[in-house]
């Protein structure tokens, strides 16, 4: 069964009285264990799609089923619970709490889940990303790559089935970006489902499936290896 299942999803915003159709009927299935890159220019609807997959937003119409749960019928509290248990977010700008040590940032999802032994679990998650010795450091005392690895530890600590990474290397130099992608590759090899948003081809190359967005629609959905063969650009 698909981990993510979007069927004819539309999203319409009203901004200053003007209707903006951000998504115009998206259908997408992602199976457990896949590593998918979502690509497309800005304004193509890929961010809106990520927000819906991430349960931060609801579709205007269509259905979204995450891990067997129909998200459209849930209230805010249930959405928060889904984000807490089923999804790990990795953001472009890291989004760590300022003035808060790394280990406490990693503990954050567990505070809302009411998990016991938070400190031990957070330290274990930091160990997994190689930052056990930086646990007491504040975000400002960490390099960009280290901050993003703390964010990944935070995303993993609840052991969710899905990692959503929104331009995770956008604020990093290419060497550090390679390190971070190495961490994601490792997770993928262990069977983690990863959905990655990027507009950089070499970052997208780490994924095994590419989904291209344009004007609120999916214009191409293909295996990564077919990328060069399909450069002629025939939309499916």
């Amino acid at each position: 069964m698909a981990l993510i299942s979007l069927r004819q999803v539309e999203k319409v915003y009203r901004m200053d009285g003007v209707e903006v159709r951000a998504l115009r009927g998206i259908s997408l299935e992602v199976d457990a264990g896949e590593f998918v890159a979502i690509m497309g220019p800005s304004g193509s609807g890929k961010s809106t799609c990520m927000n819906i997959i991430g349960c931060l937003d609801r579709p205007t119409s269509g259905t979204y089923v995450l891990d067997g749960t129909d998200v459209g019928s849930l209230d805010d509290g249930a959405l928060a619970r889904l984000r807490n248990r089923r999804i790990g977010f990795v953001f472009q700008s890291f989004n760590l709490l300022p003035r808060t040590p790394a280990v406490e940032n990693v503990e954050l999802p567990m505070i809302y889940a009411g998990t016991p032994d938070r400190r031990a679990r957070a330290l274990a998650a930091l160990e997994a990303v190689g930052l056990r010795d930086r646990a007491g450091h504040l975000p400002t005392q960490l390099s960009g790559g280290e901050q993003q690895r703390v964010a990944i530890a935070r995303a993993l600590v609840m052991a969710p089935p899905l990692i959503l990474a929104d331009e995770p290397t956008g604020n990093l130099d290419s060497a550090t970006a390679g390190e971070i992608m190495g961490v994601l590759d490792g997770l993928s090899r262990q069977g983690m489902t990863i959905v990655l948003v990027t507009h950089e081809a070499d970052i997208a190359a780490h994924a095994r499936r590419h989904v291209h967005f344009r004007d609120g629609r999916i214009v191409r959905d293909e295996p990564a290896r077919a990328r060069f063969a399909a450069s002629g650009g025939t939309p499916r």
């Binding site: 927000n51 991430g54 931060l56 937003d57 805010d76 509290g77 928060a80 619970r81 984000r83 807490n84 248990r85 977010f89 953001f91 989004n95 760590l96 709490l97 300022p98 003035r99 808060t100 954050l108 999802p109 505070i111 809302y112 889940a113 009411g114 935070r154 609840m158």
Partner: protein, 403 residues
């Protein structure tokens, strides 16, 4: 999220910016301190007056000239119907009476060399010290000889002695009252002061001297009547009234030209005044507490705006709206509670200081402290609710995008 977790987050936020936290809580600190100090002063005044009136004995009647005055204390003598002969008649003819003190009470300037004060000059009889239970600490009291001779002798209250003579011994020294020279024959014991009445700010002279030499009158201002026991007070009051109506030749249809008050009446009046003062001072202080609450709301609103991104992050990792509401509500309550606790400490210290500097009696009552504290907590909840709701209603996507 548990309350303990919310509390830890709040403490981190408060401790993260100590100066701002203190300034935010300052309104509540001052408010709580003010409420505690003001109520302590009001209650102190009430207790002191109550004690003073009770110290005079519950078996004392006071006869004033004129009809009932609000508050029972008439300054100057608008009606001149009461005389020393009335006092003598009460002593002779009312069987329950054990002592009578006729008094004439006026403001006057008193001078010693280059020092001068304006004080209460009271013309009294030798019985004054027994009826009023107010005796000289040094020197001698006014005697019958002084009365007969309209002697120019005076006893000073502690406050007047201090102001005119400082540390020097006043006994035997000449002072001038309204330009007439008097010899100081004694200094009275201290009766203490409250925030609105100093009982040691007076000069005692023989009644006859006050009437003839100082003020040129024949009447007296009031007559204190000591009754044998408390049980006989109603009968005595009636007998005194009958006697005075007869002596003043008042027909059945006419009103009394005098007023008789028992200590209980006077106590009630003083107590009422002090109670009103307490409520008034307390309310003014409470207003500052409310203003303090508005200060907290203001900073919490700023804080919610500043921490919009933090709120977005928390929501993304699974915080529900009520978790965010709880977090900010706990923070504003923690601010007002710590402000309240600091306010209690400062309020008690300020009260002690006021007691020492002004010499006023104060009473710090536990209910007043609890009331001020509870009010501070309520202020924290009330003024914290709106900013917390604003935080909880944020859209997670917007909040995450916020710079």
């Amino acid at each position: 999220m548990t309350l303990a977790a919310a509390f830890r987050i709040a403490l981190r936020a408060i401790a993260g910016n100590p100066l701002r936290s203190i300034l935010t809580a300052l309104g509540v600190i001052i408010g709580v301190a003010a409420v505690i100090a003001m109520i302590a002063i009001g209650q102190g005044a009430r207790r002191a007056t109550t004690e003073q009136v009770q110290a005079l004995g519950s078996n004392l009647l006071t006869v004033f000239a004129g009809t009932a005055q609000a508050g029972g204390v008439a300054r100057g003598d608008p009606v001149q119907t009461l005389t020393a002969d009335d006092a003598e008649a009460i002593r002779r003819e009312v069987p329950q009476v054990t002592g009578v003190s006729a008094e004439l009470n006026r403001q006057a300037q008193v001078v010693y060399r280059s020092e001068n004060v304006v004080t209460r000059v009271v013309g009294v009889t030798p019985e004054y010290q027994r009826v009023r239970n107010f005796r000289p600490i040094r020197g001698e009291f006014i005697t019958d000889d002084h009365m007969r001779a309209r002697a120019r002798v005076a006893l000073l209250g502690q406050t007047v002695a201090q102001r005119l003579f400082g540390e020097a011994d006043p006994i035997g020294q000449p002072i001038k009252i309204r330009g007439i020279t008097f010899a100081v024959i004694g200094v009275m014991e201290s009766k203490g002061a409250t925030s609105f009445f100093d009982r040691d700010d007076l000069v005692l002279v023989p009644l006859t001297t006050a009437q003839r030499r100082l003020f040129g009158v024949r009447h007296v201002g009031s007559i204190q009547v000591q009754v044998a026991s408390e049980e006989e007070m109603p009968a005595a009051q009636e007998a005194v009234a009958d006697l005075l109506r007869r002596r003043h030749r008042l027909d059945a249809g006419r009103e009394d030209d005098f007023t008789i008050r028992s200590q209980a009446d006077i106590l009630q009046v003083f107590s009422g005044v002090a109670q009103t003062m307490t409520v008034l001072l307390g309310s003014i202080a409470a207003v500052s507490l409310v203003v303090g609450g508005i200060g907290i709301m203001n900073i919490m609103l700023v804080s919610v705006t500043e921490r919009t991104r933090e709120i977005g992050i928390r929501m993304a990792v699974g915080a529900r709206r009520r978790d965010i509401l709880l977090q900010f509500l706990v923070e504003s309550v923690a601010l007002s509670v710590s402000g309240g606790l600091l306010g209690i400490a400062i309020g008690i210290a300020a009260t002690r200081l006021i007691s020492q500097i002004a010499g006023w009696a104060t009473v710090i009552s536990a209910p007043a402290v609890l009331l001020a504290f509870a009010f501070a907590v309520a202020v924290g909840v009330f003024f914290g609710l709106y900013p917390a709701q604003r935080a909880a209603r944020l859209d997670p996507i917007e909040a995450l995008r916020h710079e």
